[in-house]
Amino acid sequence: MREYLENNYLNDKTTIRSWLVTYDHKRIGLMYLFAIMFFFAVGGILALMMRLELITPAGGDLLDKNTYNVFYTLHGAIMIFMFIIPSVPAAMGNIILPIMLGTKDVAFPKLNLASWYVYVVGSAIGIFSIVSGGVDTGWTFYTPYSSSTDTAVMSMTFAVFVLGFSSIFTGINFIVTIHKMRAPGLNWFSLPLFVWSLYATALIQILATPVIAVTMILLIMERTLQVGIFDPAMGGDPVLFQHFFWFYSHPAVYIMILPGMGIISELISTFSKKKIFGYTYIAASTMAIALFGFLVWGHHMFTSQSEFAALIFSVITYLTALPSGVKIFNWLATLYRARISFEAPMLYALNFLLLFAIGGLTGIFLGTLSVDVMLHDTYFVVAHFHYVMMGGTVIAFLGGLHYWWPKIFGRMYSEKWARISAIMIFFGFNLTFIPQFIMGSLGMPRRYWQYDGLKNTDVFHFYHQLSTIGSWFIALSFLIMLVYLIHSIKNGKVAGSNPWGALTLEWQTPSPAPAHNFLEEPKISHGPYDYDKIEIDRTIDK
C-alpha cells in the first residue's frame, strides 16, 4: 500500500478560511505545530544571544544588563508557556490521539479550535509585553520583585493566565476523548502508551492549571490594588507566591515530560520490533508520576521554608524518581536482544534515554537537602533543567515529529540528513550543557550577565566558551532539520500507510489521513505492541 492518498485532510478544502474555522483535529494540531515551532525559534534565538554574551567574562559585549535580564525571562516564559507545554499534547497529541483511538475526532472539536485561538490570543498578549519593554523578573515572576518592578509584568502574567485556558481546554478534551471515544474493542489496557501519557498529562492540566490562573490574578491584583496577599509591604507573604506558583509549575514539568515519555514508549517498541516490556508498569508509573508531581512543589523552596517541611519534600522527591526509573528500565529491557533499527526517530529515542537519565539523576542531587544548599541558583540547576526539558521533552518531541511526519504529510524526509541532524543535536546538546554542570558545581551562579572578578573566572570562561560553541551546533542542526523537513513536504518519497511496520491504529489508515481519519471502520485485531504475534510489512524500504 505504498501510495499517497490523493483526497486527504490537507487538501479536503484548501481556502485559508477552511483552515481558520476547521474543526478537524489534524488541522488544528498542525496549526498548533506551526505556532509552537515559531515560538521555539524565538526562544532559541534569545538563548543564542545570551550564550554569545557569555562568551567573555565582561558584560556588555552584545547585550546591556537590563536586556540580558529581559532575555532570560522571555526565553524561559516563551519556551515553557508557548512552546513546551503545548508542544506534545496540543500539537502532536491533537493530530495523533483520535486516530490512535480509532475515532473521527476529539470529543469537542469546537472547544479544540477555541483552545488554539485562546493560545494565539495569549501569545499575542505575550508578544505585546515583549514590545512594551519586556519583563525582567525571570519566568518564575517571584514577588516582591514582580510586584514592584516597572517592566511589563502585568501583560506577561495575563498572557500566562490566558494560555492556561488553552491548556485546560485541551486537557478536558483529551480526558473525555480517551474515556468516551475509544473504538469498540479498545479497552484501557490495549491503549498505546502514548495515550496513557496524554491521559495523565490531561489530568494534571485540569488539576494544576487553575491554580496558576489564580496566582496570576492575585499578582495582577497585587500590582493594581496592593491587595496585600503577596506584597510584604502590605502585610502579604512573598513565600506564599512561591507555594502557589510551584503548586502549578512543578506538576507543569510533568505536563511537559510525560507526553514525551509516551512518545518514547512508541518509538522503542516500534523500532525494536518487540513487545514493550512491562506495559502495565509503564502505564501505572505514568499515573504515579502524575500523582507524585502534586506533592513535591516544596523542593523548589528548600531555602525559604522550615527544615521539617524541606525534609518531607525531599523524601517525596526521592519517591518521584522511582516511577521514572521503572520506565527507563522497562525501555532498556525492551531493547534487550531486540532487532533494533537505527532510523532517525529511534536515534532520538536513544538520545532521550541517555540525556533523560542524566537529567533525572542530577535531579536527585538537587533533591538532596545538603547538596541543594550548595548547588541551588547555580548553573547546575540550569543544566539539570535543560537535560530534562530539552534532552527529555524536546528530543522526544523531535522523535515523535520524525516518527509521525510521514503520517502527517504522507512523504518521507531525507533519512540521511535526519540522522546527521539527530547526531549533531546530541553532540551540540552535551557540549552546551555538560560544561554548565561543571561550572555549576564550581559555583557559577545562574542569571549572571558578567562573571568578571569571581574566584574561578578563568575556569568559568573556558566552560562558557565550550557551552556557547555547543549552542551553535544545536542551532546549525535545527537549520538543517528545517531545510530537509520543508523540502520533504513537496518532494519527499511517498511514505505509504505504514513506513515503520508499526501496529498502532494510526498506521492502519492511509497517509496523509483522510478527512475523517479512516476510510472504513478500524478493526482492533491485535494489541498495540504485539510484535511477538504478527509482523506487518513496512511500506518503505529499510
Partner: protein, 219 residues
C-alpha cells in the same frame, strides 16, 4: 435517547448516548477546574485568617449577616428551580421547564441586587481592598481593630467578586437556555445544555454555601 430523535446529533460521535455522556464528563472536568480556581482563594483565606484571627473576627462584623443569609436562601431556591427545570424537560414538559428557568433567572437577579446593596455599604464605609482601604467614622460603619484589615476586604472582594462573575456568567447561560427552550429546541430527546448549565449553576450555589459561613459567620 435514540439517535434519530435528536436533531442536534454531531456526526463524529457513534450515537446520541455517547455524545451525551461525553458532554457530561466534559462538564464535570470543567467543574473540577472551577473548584481548583476557587481553592487558591480559599487557601489564601485560611492562611491570613490563621495569621490574623482577631482581625478577621473584628472585620467580619462589617458584613451584614442578614443580607448574606437572605442571599443564601435565594441561591438555594434558585438551585431548586434549576433542578426542577431539568426534570420537567426530561419528562418532556418544556413549557413548565421554561417557567422554572425564568424563575431561576429572577432569583439570580435578586442575588445580585442584594449583593449590590452590600457592596454599596462597603464603599460608603471605605471597607475596600488593599490600598483603597480607608475606613470612615460614620455611625453606621463598624471600626475594625487589628493588623491589616485591608487584607480581609481584599479576600472578601476577590472571592465574592469572582463568585459574582460566575453568577453573571450563569445568568447569560440561563438566558440562552430560556431563548432556546422558548424556541422549542429541548425535548426529552435532547436536553444536554439544560443539564450542563444546571450543573454549573449548582456549583455557583455550592461555592456561595462555603463563602457565606467563612466570611459572615465567624467569631
Amino acid at each position: 435517547m435514540s439517535q434519530d430523535k435528536n436533531p442536534y446529533f454531531q456526526h463524529h460521535f457513534v450515537d446520541s448516548n455517547q455524545q451525551y455522556e461525553s458532554s457530561k464528563l466534559g462538564m464535570w472536568a470543567f467543574l473540577v477546574t472551577e473548584v481548583l480556581t476557587f481553592a487558591g482563594f480559599f487557601c489564601a483565606y485560611a492562611i491570613y485568617r490563621m495569621w490574623n484571627p482577631d482581625m478577621f473576627i473584628n472585620a467580619h462584623r462589617a458584613l451584614d449577616a442578614t443580607m448574606g443569609a437572605t442571599n443564601t436562601v435565594v441561591l438555594i431556591t434558585s438551585s431548586l428551580t434549576m433542578a426542577l427545570a431539568i426534570r420537567y424537560v426530561q419528562v418532556n414538559k418544556p413549557k413548565v421547564a421554561l417557567v422554572h428557568l425564568v424563575l431561576t433567572f429572577i432569583f439570580a437577579c435578586t442575588f445580585l441586587v442584594i449583593k449590590y446593596f452590600e457592596y454599596e455599604h462597603k464603599f460608603h464605609c471605605g471597607h475596600l481592598p488593599g490600598a483603597l482601604y480607608s475606613p470612615q467614622v460614620y455611625p453606621d460603619c463598624v471600626s475594625i481593630e487589628g493588623n491589616n484589615p485591608h487584607v480581609f476586604f481584599s479576600i472578601y472582594f476577590m472571592m465574592t467578586g469572582l463568585h459574582g462573575i460566575h453568577v453573571v456568567a450563569g445568568m447569560v447561560l440561563i438566558l440562552w437556555l430560556i431563548i432556546r427552550t422558548y424556541k422549542g429546541h429541548f425535548t426529552s430527546a435532547y436536553y444536554t445544555p439544560v443539564e450542563m448549565v444546571g450543573l454549573f449553576w449548582h456549583l455557583v450555589d455550592l461555592i456561595w454555601i462555603y463563602l457565606f459561613p467563612l466570611l459572615y459567620l465567624i467569631g
